[in-house]
């Protein structure tokens, strides 16, 4: 089982040796952190809105099944067709069946992390449907045949020069330029033709309001509005945790998400969609479909402690503030969600056999917890998942998969040694004498030393020195 696991250690070592990548991330994350800090200069305001937003998310989770039913009923009343999917395969099949019915050849997509979970683009291409990302960052990443490296800024791992080369290479009419305005304008021209001719538009959902059956989407570029307004059919996909109870619950989320994510007071567009085109209206899709996806979320919900993972509003601030993410970048995680939230969410979705390493890619410095706009106890959940990975149980998929007899023995030995003064003195004296001579390639020891320098042992133990100073043993 563990053989098939994703090897973060290997991928991150490679990333650490790429100075361009590290410079790109360092620069971007420093900028995002300082812009965010400016937005939350008023501590009382931050505390107030943050407490409110956390309560909105906790309240939604406290009534989750009822709110999902209410959302479904109100959407249906408004003319939005609701579909449910337990797995990403089911979600893909639902999307495909809608597309096949309307004979779709081209779908334009707004940014949606759930469709990344679904690997929807690859799936649709297999079925002969062109699936085009229209968020500029996602468009760049798709041209590059890569994955997003950040949930808010998908192409943050690339610099302008790299994007300029990519455009020249992949877009027929492109002239080589490193002028960002010209690169942006080129994407505008290419994508406008696609918006005008697409058969289906797809989007994610930032919040779905049970009370009114409204889908809220925030964005800066206008591609989200294009995807949800121009094509005759709109398909929105959401994780089942995205529901909120009331319309008035939306403002606190909108207040915190853009400020946390990119340090802007609000996104250019806040788009609230409540129905397809009504008789007499001149534009807007004639059909709207909402696909509600589980993909492991109901398992996360089943555990009272892990449940807090589902509060997340996907602002990405935890990535921006993570010392590990900043150094290795998003691709090293090889997951749809990188960074702190990814390290607790992805193992719960995909299981600890495949993703058991992720919760260890954390220094437990707590920076993410301090800035999380909905107060997710990320580090506590990280610790819990480390334990779940080595203890068989039912709370998380593949719990116990990373349990190893050798590791269990080491810890058992460690605790026995620490519980017995004689054993402890013997062990420390031994290390003081022989520790420096032991090669770092010894079995067990090398698990530690292959990513760390081996500690240098002092010639005499602390106990020894203390005794010499006349401090008595307890």
């Amino acid at each position: 089982m563990v053989e098939s696991s994703v090897n973060f250690a290997k991928a991150s070592s490679a990333a650490l040796k790429d100075p361009q990548l590290r410079a790109n991330f360092r620069r971007a994350m420093d900028g995002l952190m300082s812009k965010r800090a400016v937005q939350f200069a008023d501590t009382a305001e931050w505390n107030g809105v943050r407490t409110l937003a956390a309560s909105v998310r906790m309240r939604a989770l406290s009534k989750l099944p009822e709110l999902l039913e209410q959302l479904e009923a109100n959407c249906t009343k408004n003319g939005i067709q609701v579909h449910w999917a337990s797995t990403t395969d089911e979600a893909n099949a639902i999307v495909l069946s809608i597309m096949q019915r309307v004979n779709a050849k081209l779908v334009v997509k707004g940014k949606s992390m759930v469709t990344e979970e679904m690997h929807l683009n690859a799936f649709l291409e297999q079925h002969g449907i062109e699936s085009l990302e229209s968020d500029l960052g996602e468009y760049i990443v798709q041209l590059d045949e890569a994955m997003p490296s950040h949930i808010i800024m998908p192409a943050i791992h690339m610099n302008t020069k790299q994007i300029a080369h990519l455009f020249k290479q992949k877009i027929k009419e492109a002239e080589y330029t490193e002028d960002v305005a010209q690169l942006t304008d080129l994407a505008r021209r290419v994508l406008r033709r696609k918006f005008a001719t697409a058969d289906v538009g797809m989007s994610g959902v930032n919040a779905a309001v049970a009370q009114t059956g409204t889908l809220c989407l925030i964005e800066n570029e206008g591609n989200g509005r294009m995807c949800t307004t121009v094509p005759p059919v709109h398909i929105a996909v959401m994780g089942l945790e995205k529901v909120v109870e009331k319309l008035e619950d939306v403002p606190p989320i909108i207040s915190l998400l853009p400020r946390s994510a990119t340090g802007q007071p609000i996104t250019t567009y806040v788009n609230m969609i409540t129905s397809p085109r009504k008789p007499g209206e001149k534009d807007g899709p004639r059909e709207i479909h909402l696909v509600i996806l589980d993909n492991g979320r109901s398992n996360v919900y089943a555990d009272a402690e892990l449940r807090d993972t589902l509060r997340c509003i996907r602002c990405g601030a935890c990535m921006n503030h993570c010392p590990v993410y900043t150094k290795v970048g998003g691709h090293a995680y090889e997951a749809p969600y990188p960074g702190p939230i990814g390290k607790i969410l992805v193992p719960q979705m995909e299981g600890l056999a495949k993703r058991g390493e992720m919760p260890h890619a954390c220094t437990m410095c707590n920076a993410c917890v301090e800035i999380c706009p909905v107060k997710i106890p990320i580090v506590e959940i990280m610790g819990r998942l480390r334990a779940e990975a080595v203890h068989p149980g039912n709370a998380v998929k593949d719990a116990g998969a990373r349990g190893s007899k050798a590791e269990a023995m080491v810890w058992k030995g460690w605790s026995t040694t620490y519980a017995s003064p004689t054993a402890y003195r013997f062990a420390t004296a031994l290390l003081a004498k022989l520790g420096n001579a032991a090669p770092s390639s010894l079995p067990l020891l090398k698990e530690w030393t292959n990513v760390r320098s081996k500690p240098r042992f002092a010639a005499r133990t602390l106990h020894d020195l203390a005794r010499e100073k006349g401090i008595p043993d307890v």
Partner: protein, 224 residues
């Protein structure tokens, strides 16, 4: 309209969630909206703040009166070299615009049919579009739009320049106040929108660029 509703998945998901919630119920959570309720600006400060926030993201402002705004808009567009202005003929503002327009320069184009009948022209042959607003929000510098059958959604999105009429007596403090005081939850429109500037992106090395998919320019016409 006949995709399977996948009631199997629906029932599995809902019953699992219900069982989990009942096994580990969360105590009722109350939300205190005081922090939003208390965000207030002096009426005189509101316009100032809206202008400052929106200008910071490249929004342009021009001023007019209830009598002269069509002429002010026409002068502005002529100066900017716009050849076409898309408008909503069946709204009161649209009627006033048409009435105050002289010499059809720039050309007034009515958005009076379904989008399918003129998609090509909409995307390729229109320089500017003009809409009304339901006011603006001081906290974030945002226009409030509720597109209607008479004033369609794409009017504020596809043309390269979006002109928005803002009455100076329709300025609010926060989104929360607008939606609660106006009772939005009792009847949401097909699409409700906040617009806080021209379309923008920072997806290339965090360098801000305007006009990526939506309007390249947003011009607010303040009517005093």
């Amino acid at each position: 309209m006949s995709e399977p509703q996948n009631s199997g998945a629906r029932n599995t998901i809902l019953s699992k969630l219900r069982a989990s919630r009942d096994a580990h119920p969360v105590p009722p959570v109350a939300s205190d909206f005081t922090v939003l309720r208390e965000k207030r600006w002096d009426p005189a400060e509101r316009l100032e703040r809206i202008k400052r926030l929106m200008e910071a993201v490249h929004t342009e402002f021009i001023e007019a009166t209830e009598q002269d705004w069509p002429a002010v808009v026409q002068d502005f567009l002529a100066r900017e070299g716009a050849r076409t202005l898309l408008f909503a003929p069946a709204t009161p503002d649209g009627a006033a615009l048409a009435k105050g327009w002289t010499a059809n320069q720039p050309e007034l184009v009515p958005y009076d049919g379904e989008v399918e009948t003129f998609k090509e022209r909409l995307f390729d042959g229109i320089d500017a579009g003009i809409t009304s607003t339901l006011g603006a929000i001081a906290e974030t510098g945002s226009l409030v739009l509720w597109p209607t059958a008479e004033e369609p959604r794409l009017l504020s999105l596809v043309p390269h320049m979006h002109l928005a009429l803002l009455r100076a007596d329709q300025l609010h403090d926060t989104l929360w106040q607008v939606m609660t005081e106006k009772g939005w939850a009792a009847g949401m429109p097909t699409n409700a929108l906040l617009i806080s500037g021209p379309s923008k992106t920072a997806d290339i090395e965090q360098t801000l660029a305007y006009g990526v998919h939506g309007p390249k320019r947003l011009v607010v016409v303040i009517i005093k």
